[in-house]
């Protein structure tokens, strides 16, 4: 079936218009490339708007002890050394410059209270010092609006409400993308010399998640189908504090900023249980008694004293997300959970109503409006929610290029930066640091190359695939989506084991068969049932990659917890799991994960940024759990 499609030609095509996509498009355009940005929604609605707490960068405006070395070390320890060290290094070094650049482009960050008028920073889990530049609890909105307003004046073509269905190649290199406009259903071809995928995460694969509808893992699947390798797909972050009630908002995020502002976690006995869950890697860095944690809170958060002069250590509620999420899960499982199956997060007894409304306005608003709960008066109920994919397209850490020539990835879509667990605040900085690098390198590549050729006969096949649901007579897409979410939650969720993962893979096979027969009602005009049917192909690929990688890694590390292999393993500490397409099958291989060079590691240990014994634990060479 031949169809009348629209056609465009660009030097650089960016797919996905969240923080990473916008930043890379701005960069590519500034380099003189004819650049387009494709977004599945309207511009400015991407999942980045939901980022709340802040953007991590060692600006050292509040705590002068901060440095890139400490940020780098915190990121590696947070990621349990599953990170690609080079990405973590570039990130730690370049984040401050990227934050100041956002300010130059019009972002209005909150200011320090010392009268010096600098960018203020706050505490967040796993960061040694106050490090997150922020705008109340709507930092993501500030970031996306700043980039959006910069972008619309940068000569970038924006194609809104457009879904890419396939990447096209010319021999071994990338050549373009084919998809459809959601509003009209009309197909569209983009020819491009280089392409950046920055399509965000995969939250919608799980029934309890904090993500927008767009987070269906498109970039992972598109890159995989085009022959690019994926890595670290087993590392999925379950954020400890999602809403648990009412059911319709289950999973909706509650910012870590609540804990940064003094909020504490309690079980149904009223105990602050986090003191019981300090892992060896954080021992000595966090308060060990309630008295100590309260003294720190009083001095640092309430009185605003400089932490340099405070001898008490910060509360264990501020450990990294993987640690806190597991602690919550344990408490709930042990029967010490809250009424609706979570635990309590209490800010009401810690801060004045006025402070809460000022520091956490959208949290106040969210609970009041959606749960009839006044968080200035009573504790919130919270539980783990699928939040972030650490894995993704395997990229060259310095150029962000994938294993396919001309195809780049940035942001949540790329792998390596965060290792097995991301620290809060490191996502927004990831977007702008690696967005810029991807834009720069995609532009450099585009300038060196000629416009690739596209074989028109491929498009007819793609049209047939995209239209198939209108020919089918079976069920519509929504039940398949719901069953996929249940299968992932059950078989590849926060806790995994061999038999559950096998069950999950079996479920996915059955869902694939159902998807072949999925039907769409009506026509191609703005048809959500049809859109979901097409997104499901991507979600099933990502689900399978995730479950297979999780099966391969026989250890527990960060966002990958196995009940049958509960500790760090020496055999896997220096490996990364890579997924690639081989014929029609999915191939899983173990590759060596590049390690921090010995000289740099020695320097960090000497400087007191890292401890040698923690490294040993994370490498499975000393007991850690």
């Amino acid at each position: 079936m031949s169809e009348n499609y629209q056609s465009f030609e660009y030097d650089v095509l960016v797919i996905g218009a969240g923080g990473a996509g916008l930043r890379s498009a701005i960069e590519a355009s500034a380099a003189g490339c004819k650049t387009a940005l494709v977004c599945k929604s309207l511009l400015g609605k991407a999942h980045t708007v939901m980022a709340e707490g802040g953007i991590a960068a060692s600006l050292a405006t509040v705590d002068s002890r901060d440095s890139w070395q400490q940020h780098f070390s915190d990121t590696l320890i947070g990621g349990n050394f599953g990170n690609h060290w080079k990405m973590a290094e570039l990130h730690a070094k370049q984040a401050p410059e990227r934050v100041r650049e956002l300010e130059k482009w019009g972002a209005v960050f909150d200011r320090t209270t010392d009268g010096k008028g600098n960018i203020n920073v706050r505490h967040f889990g796993g960061h040694t010092y106050k490090r997150l530049a922020h705008v109340g609890d709507r930092t993501g909105l500030e970031l996306i609006r700043t980039l959006q307003d910069k972008g619309v004046h940068s000569g970038i073509d924006v194609h809104m409400e457009c879904t890419i269905y396939a990447l096209l190649k010319d021999g071994d290199r990338i050549a373009g993308a084919y998809g459809y406009f959601r509003e009209t259903g009309r197909p569209v071809l983009f020819k491009a010399k280089s392409i950046i995928v920055s399509t965000g995460g995969i939250g919608k694969l799980f029934s309890v998640n904090s993500n927008s509808w767009e987070c269906t893992g498109d970039g992972f699947a598109l890159a995989y189908l085009a022959g690019a390798e994926l890595a670290d797909m087993e590392y999925v972050q379950f954020h400890p504090t999602g809403m648990v009630w009412p059911h319709s908002v289950r999973g909706l995020l509650i910012t870590e900023g609540v804990r940064g502002e003094g909020g504490v976690l309690k079980n149904n006995k009223g105990e602050r249980f986090m003191f019981n869950y300090i892992p060896p890697k954080y021992q000595g860095k966090y308060a060990e008694t309630e008295e100590e944690a309260n003294a720190w809170f009083q001095k640092v958060v309430v009185e605003g004293q400089k932490e340099e002069g405070v001898k008490e250590r910060k509360p264990p509620e501020l450990m990294s997300r993987d640690v806190v999420a597991r602690a919550l899960w344990n408490e709930i499982k042990a029967g010490r959970g809250s009424e609706h199956g979570g635990v309590y997060l209490d800010i009401a007894s810690r801060r004045s109503a006025e402070d809460i409304k000022k520091k956490l306005p959208s949290m106040y608003h969210q609970f009041k409006q959606l749960a009839d709960v006044d968080i200035t008066k009573v504790p919130m109920e919270v539980g783990p929610t699928c939040h972030y994919m650490m894995g993704g397209v395997k990229v060259n850490p310095e150029t962000q290029e994938s294993t396919v020539r001309g195809l780049f990835a940035a942001g949540e879509c790329s792998a390596g930066m965060h290792g097995s667990n991301r620290l809060g605040g490191n996502s927004l900085s990831d977007l702008v640091v690696f967005g810029k690098l991807a834009g720069e390198n995609a532009a450099a590549y585009a300038k060196l190359t000629s416009m690739p050729k596209i074989d028109d006969s491929v498009l007819a096949g793609l049209n047939k695939e995209m239209n198939q649901p209108f020919e089918n007579k079976g069920e519509v897409s929504y039940a398949i989506l719901a069953d996929l979410q249940t299968a992932m939650e059950k078989g590849a969720g926060m806790y995994r084991e061999e038999s559950l993962l096998d069950g999950c893979l079996k479920d996915l096979e059955a869902l694939k068969e159902r998807l072949k027969k999925v039907a769409a009602e009506g026509n191609r005009l703005f048809n959500p049932g049809w859109h979901v049917a097409l997104d499901l192909r991507n979600m099933l690929i990502v689900g399978e990659a995730l479950a297979r990688a999780a099966k391969e890694r026989k250890e527990s590390r960060g966002g990958h917890t196995r009940t049958d292999y509960t500790t760090y393993s020496k055999d896997f500490a220096k490996k990364r799991i890579v997924v690639r397409k081989k014929g029609e099958a999915m191939e899983i291989v173990q590759e060596d994960l590049p390690q921090v060079p010995a000289e740099l590691e020695a320097e960090l240990i000497k400087g007191g940024f890292l401890k040698a014994e923690i490294l040993k634990q994370l490498r499975g060479e000393a007991p850690a759990h």
Partner: protein
């Protein structure tokens, strides 16, 4: 689980009508949940925009029983038992399909606003109280409900000569930025037609972010225009001196 009765607009640019549905709902649900239930069980091709379902992205704007609202932040328990809930698309913008409207005009207006332009040699250190003023307007999630309700756009369709409250808030965020050095007063007067606003405050009422658009953005901007172009003393001075 209980059932509610809904009427939802179904149609496209060529026309349409309200359609009746009975929908299963549970405690705590919002209007958007009911719409999603409809899609999953009765109308898989029902078009509506949504993203975050948390009141942060401003995608799911519609009119619920005639009032401009975010569907994700409108709880079903706001309505009386047995009350029919009618959901229609935003009236000010052309209908694309069902609840989705063509809001591209807003993006065109935004392009015509000169971007943030820092003063030369500006001091990048400033205090929270200076940030506060700009931050209020930067809370905007671009749901366009203020544009939908504004009678200059809704009743009089002045899209060619009037930017609307969303973009007055946007301009205010720039004009009140402590470092911005550009003067957008002439644009406000001529291209963006701020004089057409007669301060009925409808925009402020519907803003889900509680931005005081009228009092804190539009009125101060109107004052700037008046000071610059309609101050009688200044007009006299100009007439005499030719400046």
């Amino acid at each position: 689980m209980s059932k509610i009765h809904m009427r939802v607009y179904r149609g496209n640019s060529e026309g349409g009508q309200l359609k009746d549905y009975d929908v299963e709902v549970a405690e705590g649900m919002v209007v958007l949940d009911a719409i999603h239930n409809l899609q999953a069980t009765q109308a898989s091709d029902l078009a509506c925009r949504w993203n975050c379902k948390a009141g942060k992205c401003g995608s799911c704007s519609a009119e619920v029983n005639g009032k401009p609202r975010l569907m994700c932040m409108t709880r079903l328990n706001e309505f009386a038992e047995g009350e029919t809930i009618t959901v229609t698309p935003m009236k000010t913008f052309p209908i694309m399909k069902d609840l989705a409207t063509d809001v591209s005009w807003n993006y065109e207006v935004n392009k015509r606003i000169p971007p943030f332009t820092p003063r030369e040699g500006a001091d990048w250190h400033w205090q929270q109280k200076d940030a506060d003023r700009a931050q209020e307007f930067r809370k905007c999630i671009e749901c366009f409900l203020c544009q939908d309700t504004c009678h200059v756009l809704r009743e009089h369709d002045k899209k060619t000569s009037f930017a609307g409250p969303r973009f007055f808030a946007r301009i205010a965020s720039l004009e009140m930025h402590p470092i911005d050095g550009l003067d957008r007063t002439e644009l406000l007067k001529d291209q963006h037609g701020i004089g057409l606003c007669n301060i009925t405050r409808c925009c402020t009422e519907v803003c889900p972010e509680s931005i005081r658009i009228t009092d804190n953005a539009i009125i101060p901007l109107k004052e700037r225009v008046v000071d610059k172009y309609y101050d009688p003393l200044r007009m006299l001075w100009s007439a005499v001196t030719g400046k």
